[in-house]
Structures are given as structure tokens and as C-alpha cells.
């Protein structure tokens, strides 16, 4: 029989975060965290001797507390899709994003924490979380913004376990996520998410794009232009081109990705502002 990881010798199922962190610490680079396991096939085959499953750590709840939505890192996207109520702009945005991620059987394996820890150019949920200004909680205690995590890269949290994703639902008036690929379940060639905030003083938007470079990016220069209403689709693609150098692959060349990203951002902005003013 073939194995996903032939080098794997130990499968740990700790019952507490402390125990999981201890095993990770003692195992060093040869032990990795296992969430949904979907990306196990991409792990260098001789590198991993042990995995620490997060399954028994109690990271599988979706909770609404006051103005905060908290998603356990071990919640599968399939479960998240079923748990989201869709009665707030934040939950509607997350629902749309999750439904555009992978396929039904994959969503029943992929976890919310896993898509962050394994973030890549194709990632969908981190684009929406970046637009929402979400935070991630490490080891149950340390809170960092997803913006900082994405800027520093996944290696910045080596040895840690993402335990939760949390975001404020207060002040969010509208949101949208759009992803373009070759078909409905394709990886993103380009994607965008726009969130409209209004705290009663001054409406503002946050814009994130995906698919263009190695990780989702927040594009503050675009946020300003969109809020002031001084940019059209063509100018937006041009502005994006001055800010990022998109990757190029056989599915889509760089200039095409820029064009798609511009379209995604403008369409998201229209949808999010429509929701905010409804």
C-alpha cells in the first residue's frame, strides 16, 4: 500500500494544547501540526517523522460573543458553512467565500486554521479574513492580526498552533468576495474581497486581493481611491500593476491576472457598497 507520508513514524493525538505544544517543541522540525491533512501530500516526503493532530484539542467551535465571531482553528470549512447563520454581513461574506473554496468533500477535511497555516496564492478564506481585519490566536493566548501574519509568512509561527480566528462583526456594513478561475472549483487565478465599515463617523473600506502573488495582500492605496470614488476599472488594474508584480503560470499570464483582479475588486466594491446601503 502506498502511504501519504512514508517517513511518518508517530501520530500524536494530544488532548490539550499544552501537551500538543510540548510534543511540537520536543520534536523540532521533524514534527508538524496536522489539521485536515489535505496538504500532507505536498510535504517533503522524508522530512516529517511525527504529526500532532489537533482533533482532540477542542478547537472545533463557532461562537458569537458580543460583537465578536470566533472560529476554532479545527473547524472544517464544511462545518463552518453549515454553522454560519448568514444574518450579518460578516457571516454572509464568510459563507460566500467558503462555498467558493475547493469542493464539497475537500471542504469536509480542510480546516479554518489549516487554510491560514498553509496559505498560498490560491487561498480564498484568508483573502476575506484580511479584508475583514481578522485576528488569529496562537497557542490559545497570543493574538496577532492576520495582516501581520500574512506579511511575516507562515514560517513566523513555526512551533506554534493556530487555535482560533476571531473578528469583530460590529461596524461591518457590507462585504463581498469574488474569485475567478477556469471553472467553479478551480484555484483562484485572481480573487478579491472588499468590506465596508461604518462606525458612524466615516465609512471606509478594506480591500484584499488573492491569486496574484504568493499570499493575499491588503491594498491600502486602492482603499483610499475607492472610498473617494475617483477610480474606474481600467485605472484600478493599472494601479494594481504599479503595486504588485503578479505571478505567471500556464493558466493565466501576469497581465491577465491584473485585469481579472481589477474586475474582482470593482465588482466586490459595488456588491459590498450595495449591501451597506440596503
Amino acid at each position: 500500500m502506498s502511504q501519504i507520508l512514508p517517513s511518518l513514524e508517530r501520530y500524536h493525538r494530544p488532548a490539550s494544547l499544552d501537551e500538543a505544544l510540548r510534543i511540537l517543541h520536543e520534536g523540532g522540525a521533524s514534527v508538524m501540526v496536522l489539521a485536515g491533512g489535505v496538504s500532507l501530500g505536498m510535504v517533503p516526503r522524508r522530512a516529517v517523522r511525527g504529526v500532532v493532530s489537533i482533533e482532540r484539542l477542542g478547537l472545533d467551535a463557532v461562537e458569537r460573543e458580543g460583537g465578536t465571531l470566533r472560529i476554532g482553528a479545527g473547524v472544517t470549512l464544511g462545518h463552518l458553512e453549515r454553522m454560519l447563520a448568514g444574518d450579518s454581513p460578516v457571516e454572509r461574506l464568510l459563507m460566500v467565500t467558503v462555498r467558493r473554496t475547493a469542493t464539497t468533500p475537500l471542504r469536509n477535511l480542510i480546516t479554518a486554521g489549516g487554510v491560514i497555516a498553509g496559505v498560498g496564492p490560491w487561498s480564498d478564506l484568508p483573502v476575506a479574513l484580511l479584508a475583514l481585519g481578522a485576528d488569529i490566536v496562537l497557542n490559545g493566548t497570543t493574538v496577532i492580526s492576520i495582516e501581520r501574519f500574512l506579511a511575516d509568512g507562515p514560517r513566523s509561527i513555526a512551533g506554534a498552533i493556530i487555535s482560533e480566528i476571531r473578528m469583530s462583526v460590529d461596524g461591518v456594513k457590507g462585504g463581498a468576495f469574488i474569485k475567478l478561475g477556469r471553472n467553479e472549483t478551480d484555484l483562484a487565478m485572481a480573487s478579491a474581497s472588499v468590506v465596508v465599515f461604518d462606525d458612524g463617523v466615516q465609512p471606509r473600506v478594506r480591500v484584499a486581493i488573492g491569486g496574484l502573488v504568493s499570499r493575499p495582500l491588503r491594498i491600502e492605496a486602492v482603499e483610499e481611491s475607492l472610498t473617494r470614488g475617483v477610480i474606474d476599472r481600467g485605472a484600478l488594474s493599472e494601479l494594481l500593476g504599479s503595486l504588485v508584480t503578479p505571478r505567471h503560470d500556464p493558466r493565466a499570464e501576469a497581465v491577465y491576472r491584473l485585469d481579472l483582479a481589477g474586475t474582482c475588486v470593482m465588482d466586490c466594491f459595488e456588491t459590498a457598497t450595495r449591501e451597506a446601503s440596503a
Binding site: L5, Y11, G37, G41, R99, T103, L106
Partner: protein, 157 residues
């Protein structure tokens, strides 16, 4: 390592290397209705139900099923007493080579457990992880709609 679970309603345990795939272990234990296709979660030929939800068993390492319940196509019906979804697939002409069929049927089963009144769009969305390279998907969706109606006890026109 020893892994204990429930497969098709019966206790199941075996000694495996921790990196072994669920699809391989099921097939090695005679449950060959679960097919190995792409090995990367793309095609859905290996779909089984993990606690009632469809998953790609080519991406599941066996220790992951410890204490959980797995349903394969053999757990749904038998050649002499097929499940209504299996009957509908045969009647609607939704099967050609048949390699994708077990995964399709299990995905359809999970959908109908949750939603007995699906639209054709709901069915298409639920089968988005199951590829068929023989047919279009029209007959497959016809079959699931037919099965849904039968399971609701409706007479078909």
C-alpha cells in the same frame, strides 16, 4: 499503530503504519467499491462518508478515523437490495464505466440526508467534488432527483 473505528456499522480495527491512506486500507480489507483515482482529492472516486459527511479517502491518513464512523458504498446497499439512489442511477442511465459511481452515490446520499428536497442546482453543488469522464452530468442529476422523489415517497410521472 492500532486504529479502531466503525466501518459500515460494524467495529473495525487494524494495525497500520500511521501514514497509510484510508482508501488503501479499505480496499485491502475487501471494500473495493471505494475507487482510487487521482490520489490528490481532485476526482472524488474515493469518496466515503466520515461521520456522515463525504470526504476524499485518498487524503485521510488512517489514524484520523480513530473513534469515527466510516460508510463506504458497501454500507449503503447490496446487489440484491440496492439503496434507492443506486436503483435510480441504474434506471436513469447515470452509469457508464462506473468508476465514479460509488463516490457519486455517497455524495448524493449525504445531500439527501441533509436536504430531502434538493433542486438540480443543489445536486450539482453537492456533486462538485465528483468527476465523471464518461458522461455529461445530466443523467446523474436526473438520478439523484429521481431518488430524492422516491425517498420522499412521491410517485414519479
Amino acid at each position: 499503530m492500532r486504529v479502531t473505528a466503525t466501518v459500515n456499522g460494524s467495529p473495525f480495527s487494524c494495525d497500520v503504519a500511521p501514514g497509510e491512506r484510508l482508501v488503501d486500507v479499505l480496499r485491502a480489507h475487501g471494500l473495493t467499491g471505494t475507487k482510487y483515482g487521482c490520489g490528490s482529492g481532485e476526482c472524488g472516486a474515493c469518496v466515503v462518508l466520515l461521520d456522515g459527511e463525504p470526504v476524499n479517502s485518498c487524503l485521510v491518513v488512517l489514524p484520523r478515523i480513530e473513534g469515527h464512523s466510516i460508510t463506504t458504498i458497501e454500507g449503503l446497499g447490496t446487489p440484491s437490495v440496492p439503496h434507492p439512489i443506486q436503483e435510480a442511477f441504474a434506471e436513469a442511465g447515470a452509469v457508464q464505466c462506473g468508476y465514479c459511481t460509488p463516490g457519486m452515490v455517497l455524495s448524493a446520499y449525504a445531500l439527501l440526508q441533509r436536504n430531502p428536497h434538493p433542486t438540480r442546482e443543489d445536486v450539482a453543488a453537492a456533486l462538485d467534488g465528483n468527476l465523471c469522464r464518461c458522461t455529461g452530468y445530466v443523467k446523474i442529476i436526473d438520478a439523484v432527483m429521481m431518488a430524492a422523489a422516491r425517498l420522499r415517497g412521491e410517485a414519479l410521472s
